[in-house]
Amino acid sequence: MSTPALAVNFVLTGVGGQGTLLASNILADVALAASLDVKKSEVHGMAQRGGSVISHVRWHPEAVYSPIVGVGEADILLAFEKLEALRYAHYLRPGGTAVVNDMSIVPITVSAGGAVYPGDEYLAPAFAALGTTVLTVPGERLAQEAGNVKAANVVLLGALSRVLPLPEEVWWTCLEQRVPQKFLELNRQAFAAGRAAVEQRPS
């Protein structure tokens, strides 16, 4: 029995305050707009104070049961920060895809302690060892070019949209509803830049 193309398990990771919650909200909206069943799960409270955060979103054409994704069961890892990408890499299934923001946020254990932030050289081998694809997206740079560095999460959604079989309009309609009117154009450009970043990659 093959898995339907739109049965997708997402794990979103980042650092508290980076906008992972908005991204998971839009992923849930997109599922409803595409007539899929959807569940979304996140953790609030203490972890939000600059800690490591994880959200789960699950799509299925018929029925989603568990609201959370188990280890080794994510089709897509959307990481807003590179250390968090590595920390949650094991959530991906073999053949899954990691969309990783090219962004490092140094944790206090490094800046005020003896720990070492892992270099970029670990990214490719880590995801290769899992049998997964990794797409690195310069979220902050593209968002800055679009007009505001804070739109990095929308850049990442743009990149993510490119690896999923849904028309671009569905994404855009959902984004429009969550974004203030005066930032529409900025977010449209940020989204397009994210899509282009993935399209331009040699396959």
């Binding site: 849930a28 409803l32 799960s41 996140e42 409270g45 972890a47 568990s66 250390l83």
Partner: protein
Amino acid sequence: MKRILSGNEAIARGAWEAGVYVAAAYPGTPSTEILEEFSRFPGVYCEWSSNEKVALDVAVGAALAGRRAMAAMKHVGVNVAADSLFYASYTGSEGGLVLVSADDPAMHSSQNEQDNRRYASFARVPCLDPSDSQECKDFCIAAFNLSEQFDTPVLLRTTTRINHSSTPVELGERGEVRPARKKFPRNAAKYVMVPANARGRHPVVEERVERLREWVETSPLNRIEWRDREVGIITAGVAYQYAREVFPTASILKLGVVFPLPAALIRRFAAGVARLVVLEELDPVIEEGVRLLGLPCEGKSIFPLIGELDPAVVRRAGATAGLPVDRPPVPRPSIPLPELPGRPPVLCPGCSHRGVFQLLAKKRVAVSGDIGCYTLGFLPPLSALHFCGCMGASIAVAHGAAQAGLGERVVAVLGDSTFYHTGLPALVNVAYNKANILLIILDNRTTAMTGHQANPGTGVTLQNQPTDVVELEPLVRALGIKHVATVGAYDVKEIERAYRELMATNEPAVMIARQPCVLLPESRRQWVPLEVLENCNGCGVCFRIGCPAILKSDEIDPVNNKPLALIDKDLCTGCEICTQICPHDAITTRDQMRLLEDSDHSSCALMPPGGAQ
């Protein structure tokens, strides 16, 4: 119309549709959003009460006045409110009364992972256990009907993965809102719980449980899903979702009511399957109930007792026990990685608690802490908090240690909201029984950890009505504390001066360190990122205050051979704690940064504060 709602939003919606007029709560993860959401509906009264017991009493009072009323809290909040839950079970009420308990398996944001289904059998009240947002809404409405049908409080018990997961919900309309009674009920036998009357009520309560046992046999909140009869799984709450996911071929008895259990229904289900298994998160509550019926079953012999379940955990445990899993579990892959640095939650850049904690760390004093953002003061590099138990415990624990004759003075620290919550009676005790502790109230004018809810020091209510602030200084003095000092929480010198002065008294003393939380909108508008100046020599003193905005730069001081400090402009808020503790005046002040902005940025050579005069 279907909308994606979190469990908390769905509970609020359910309460509104059920015609609830009064809701009261104290914020606590994962329950907080229930009241935040409920406050957005028209035609309701709701409040942040000063603690969970107060919240439940408020709900009881509203229910005695004939309204439908709800109290919501996290699992440990029910401990605080338990005294009220137990009398309310005896008295019942006039209008429907529902207590929402949000449990936190895995302790995402809690000090323990108690299973509050236990409270239902303990207090003899029915317990509903929803498994998604639709059920959160439906069960909330059902709970009010049940409460009025049986004259009992109803426990609506959820878990983090229910509260904070979002699933599609069919919305309904607002139901009938019962008006308040004209008169308070005058029925001493039912509502005055002195021994003579309570003895009359206990049989009523037990008889009510028996009637509930009959009712639950045919309740639509429980259902059997017959599939293959080889394995039958009894489950409830979010565990039901994992059962459907991982054991798609198994028959399932899905319980929506976990107290009392439907004995006949369970017997019928058990008789229809070859192997009976209970899948539940945390305690073996259902399993024990099934065993009491004399039915052999498996449960915690297969699935973990501790922590959260998830599909992978259930699949691994199920496969090991020979249950029919959907697919074989995958072993955790090995990834070529060094040990990754942890990213614990931290006191934010600009946190108004940092000034006090850097002093406490420097003084190496014993600190009895409490529940809030400031608990994070225990983490390195500050490591300045040595005890944290539950809400309000800081003060009396320090008091007890002092009265025991401990060889060092103990400082208690707690936040403004926690002080109003349960700090007050403990401080009365300190004043009256005269322990020589120093209490530091970290007054950031909000309930920060749970997302900035109002408290009696804020000046607005949950429904955005202005109200009078309950000022801390006169309150503390009125409790009998003679030595009280208020300091600005960003003023390092002032904090130390007050600390020395108060510690010199050897009597009960209170320092109020005040500064609105740096994440509040009015604080954000005043952020000014600072810079490290050229005279930094990498001494590392600023690294010890644990500010995420202070980084080690790639530049190494040639003399010290240590990395220079670097301030992340995107994170720094300009609290100036680092400016004040830097022994070399190598970090700018806010005023200097403003000057810098006013002048032509390129040509301005910054002077250290001492040299600028």
